[in-house]
């Protein structure tokens, strides 16, 4: 019945119109788990105690505590909003059952408050979950073409532009650390973009993974659709890529752990030649990381940048290991949201972007590539991630209570 209805609809509604609809998997709104609510209540109590103490002036100023306080009040604030909304929602539900005459009105009202409730509920959920250790950091995005030759390089360039546009839209400070075009100048071989905004890592961490594009490439002569990929790596920025930071950081390594290669000129060197090549290659033996930097005229600056990248990559590896260990301890096989192979598809003929992890589709390629609507995908992914983590948390809690 439904399928026939859809078919008839297709006859009447033009194709183009339907393409601009964004679809989200429409799930029934779920009330937060009592355990999470309990947690929020605990925060509320803690805040009250803290507020009283501060009011009496018994404590001295402490930055850490102030931070904690502001976080607590943010959580409690959204918790209060949530409980307000949820009580109205529940009342309406009761009303619907008790008084059939008001059913229609109640339903309409429920529909009105539902989106708001969803939003509040997801923010509260995200706040209740333990924050990511690097959430406050700025981040570094590394973009490289995958399979697909020149078309992949062009797509990598498109992705880079998308993130730059995104940063511009949000008025984030950002700069290119390294940018290497391919020989014909149509795409990139690799690029590293630094987002110097506090909390950028938290926003963009879900961008990591393989992005797939399906379109008719500019290089295609017979009009066939190609599939190519580009890989994005998101790293937390541990320190500024200033030269002094790099020097201090360099000294934390043992001499046999790292190796710095510079352009090896043939011949005698020194005053005999005046080379302009300032490329630096940094090798970190324990992890096998190799970083090439060549964009700056100053070898010194290239080195500083290479060390900043190394630092970010090592921090990332360490964090991944920690997560892995924690997962092993839990002995569960929960699928992770990060590092999965293919995270997103950009389908140009259908004007569609789908995130494969959360199943969210957005039908606006142009808006997304211009960085305007990327936020919607990121938001969807964030909601999905906090859902998964909440489930994980609840599972754990169940296990501990049952044992």
């Amino acid at each position: 019945m439904l399928s026939t209805l859809l078919k008839t609809r297709r006859v009447f509604v033009s194709q183009v119109w339907s393409r601009y609809q964004t679809t989200v998997a429409n799930v029934e709104f779920q009330v937060l788990h009592p355990m999470l609510i309990k947690r929020a209540e605990k925060y509320e109590n803690e805040l009250e105690v803290l507020e009283q103490k501060m009011a009496t002036g018994a404590m001295h100023f402490d930055v850490e505590r102030e931070k904690h306080f502001s976080r607590l009040s943010a959580v409690v604030d959204s918790y209060r909003k949530y409980s307000d909304e949820i009580s109205t929602y529940k009342e309406l539900q009761v009303m619907m059952v008790e008084d059939p005459s008001l059913r229609q009105e109640a339903e309409q009202e429920m529909k009105e408050i539902e989106p708001n409730l969803r939003k509040i509920s997801s923010t509260l959920l995200a706040q209740l979950l333990p924050p990511h250790p690097f959430a406050e950091r700025p981040c570094i995005l590394e973009i490289r073409p995958g399979v697909g030759g020149i078309e992949a390089m062009i797509f990598a360039q498109d992705l880079l532009n998308m993130y730059i546009n995104y940063a511009q839209n949000k008025r984030w400070k950002h700069h290119l650390i390294s940018f290497n075009e391919n020989e014909s100048g149509s795409g990139i071989v690799d690029a590293i973009l630094s987002m110097d905004e506090v909390g950028a890592y938290d926003k963009l961490k879900f961008e990591a993974g393989v992005h797939r594009v399906q379109r008719i490439p500019a290089t295609e002569t017979k009009g066939r659709t190609h599939t190519s990929t580009a890989a994005v790596v998101v790293l937390p920025q541990m320190a500024e890529d200033s030269e002094r930071e790099a020097e201090n950081y360099e000294r934390t390594f043992k001499p046999d752990e790292i190796r710095i290669d510079v352009m090896r000129a043939r011949g005698k060197g020194g005053q005999h030649v005046n080379t302009t090549d300032s490329a630096v290659r940094l090798t970190h033996y324990p992890s096998g990381i190799v970083i090439n930097m060549q964009n700056e005229r100053s070898q010194h600056k290239n080195k500083a940048k290479a060390f900043a990248i190394l630092r970010a990559r090592l921090a990332e590896i360490e964090q991944k290991e920690k997560e892995e260990n924690a997962r092993k301890e839990r002995k569960d096989q929960v699928s992770t949201t990060d590092r999965s192979d293919k995270v997103r598809t950009y389908n140009f003929p259908q004007n569609r972007i789908t995130d494969h992890r959360c199943g969210f589709s957005l039908h606006d390629i142009e808006g997304t590539m211009a960085g305007e609507r990327l936020d919607e995908i990121i938001e969807a992914m964030k909601t999905y991630d906090s859902d998964v983590r909440a489930k994980q948390l609840l599972n754990e809690a169940d296990e501990t209570t049952s044992v």
Binding site: E183, V262, G267, Q271, H272, N274, T275, T276, S278
Partner: protein, 293 residues
Amino acid sequence: MPRIRPSTIWEAHRLHKALPLLLPECRAIPIALQELQWIRNELGDKKYKIWKSCRLRYHRYPLQYILGTQPFGPLEIDCRPGVLIPRWETEEWALDLAHRLPPDKNLQVLDLCTGTGCIPLLIKRLRPQFAVGAIECSPVAVKLASQNAEKLGIHIDICTEDVLKCPPLPHKVDFITCNPPYISRSSFVGDTAKSVQLFEPKLALIGSLEFYENLCDFWIHQIEAFAYEVGTLSQCRYVESRIAADPALREQWRVGTKKDSNNKERVVYGYKTISAKGIDWHTLFRGFGGPTC
């Protein structure tokens, strides 16, 4: 040196009309593109200017003179025709050395044959406590070094003297750095890059042992440590043998050689085992280089 293939030249031409002009110096397209990017960054997108710079580059004119600057550690040093361009090898050892010097002591450092003033400026920037001076015989270079000091806001004393004429020192000096001309006349034609031969001052390039001789005859008696850049192993050996030949010096001094990242002998350094200033030169220079071999 292998020739540049015509296909490479055509390919470069397709990418940018001026790119083939950069090929004789850069040899490969990626490096040429990088250089073109730098020229664009510094001079803006004016077609005529870019074309002119590439023409100069085709005639082997050094990029540093075209752009007017050369990065040296954290500093941006102005360069001008008639003054030697700071090399990355110098940058490497000067940085390493400057970081080794004790920041809390009040050292008197003197740089001979200073050129653009890159070494003393770097030391003064990293160790502001020190009193840093520089000596240079070329008036063009003295002017440029003063200009650099002014631009960077770093104060150093620069005076016009000929190092080889053993000028009297106004005050005591503890440490001497020097990047003397060290290319021998015979290897200047064969081993030196065209761009250097044609456009950099011979005064700052050609020399054999006279500065090292001058060091062992005159400067060594006034100082506690020195670091001289060298071009060949024989120059290191010369300094070492001169110190070993003198019984008084042999007792007091230790000499070593530092290689650069290209594994070429680049610096000969020496220090007194007993310091009047109370600086432990031995630990300071540990790991900087090794014994001459």
